[in-house]
Symmetry: C2
Subunit: 200 residues, 2 copies
């Protein structure tokens, strides 16, 4: 039986299917979409991929993504460079920035410690953080890894490493999400919310 | 506030978000995936898009996708070229081929008549079908558009156009899907299943 689609079309389906969360059916739909684009648009798509891959690298200071020499936040003079918020992934920077509350700078680890997935301290940008703390005057380091087992373990590990530098290390507050309902809070969250209670 | 991601990364997110069924969050995840690929892999992705867009065109005979001069099915000497199965989309060819029952050739309309979406006869590959029937000896034309309003209307329209050629025009059978349950058959399907009943 001859192949059902031309080889170069099958190749594009396979490429799309290799993306996370894209199944064979969706990949086929995406490939048909590419075929239906005006040729200039398809070229622009390909160019955007190359462009992004070639230009985007990590900021030498905070390890966040940038296509300049240093990232926009590290370059900014309006940010407090003595306050460093440590996050696992570049997208976490976006989440925190959206709150418009934080005016310090960041450090992106590019992952969390995960023995199960063989991710140890050497796979993360931990050395870069220690070098930063040794070289610059730092007043506070806020651990903003996710409040799960791996995120907690990573925060704990880092806080021990940072102890010798005598810098204040804090952790984001745990508790009931704003706008949520006590009824839906799981036991662990409720426990942390009680532990973290503050006088009114 | 500075932009949260570098411009060339935002551009890639926007490209992915322009694909059908891909939301902003998925687009972000896909863009991060591209960034995590080895550079050669990202280049290969871009090249596959260009390659597919440049090489793949429609077969001059059956209008199915091909990257050769004619498609593999039209080139095959083992297929019955006097039997033409008319389908709406290239992916329908794949569905019918999977049954391994059909040995004729195809004609892909690239859509169905849809006055709502302003798709009339001139937007479909209908002229090419009529030219084929006029030029080649054709014994049967099987209408295999979807069994819905637009698919039925398109099949009906084509069968009228083909009447002057004196060729036999058939329609795929309607009925209860194999492995399904009578309980779940809707009224219209049940009606068609009764109408189309055959002696055992």
């Amino acid at each position: 039986m001859p192949s059902l689609f031309p080889p170069s079309f099958e190749a594009l389906i396979d490429r799309f299917a290799s993306l996370p969360g894209v199944g064979k059916k969706s990949a086929q739909r995406l490939a048909f979409h590419i075929l239906s684009l005006p040729e200039g648009e398809a070229e622009a798509f390909a160019r955007t991929i190359l462009d992004c891959r070639q230009k985007v690298h990590t900021c030498p200071v905070c390890q966040n993504l940038t296509d300049g020499e240093r990232c926009a936040i590290c370059r900014s003079e309006r940010r407090d460079h003595s306050q460093i918020c440590v996050v696992a992934e570049p997208k976490d920077v976006a989440s925190i920035e959206r709150s418009r509350e934080y005016s310090g700078v960041y450090h992106v680890l590019h992952g969390v410690l995960s023995p199960m997935n063989r991710i140890g301290p050497d796979e993360l940008r931990i050395r870069e953080l220690l070098e930063r703390v040794a070289a610059e005057p730092v007043s506070e380091i806020i651990m903003a890894t996710n409040p799960d087992t791996e995120g907690d373990a990573t925060a704990m590990y880092l806080s021990r490493l940072l102890k010798p530098f005598g810098v204040k290390v804090t952790r984001l507050a745990y508790g009931i999400p704003v706008g949520s309902n006590l009824e839906f809070a799981d036991d662990a969250t409720m426990l942390r919310a009680l532990e973290g209670r503050r006088e009114m």
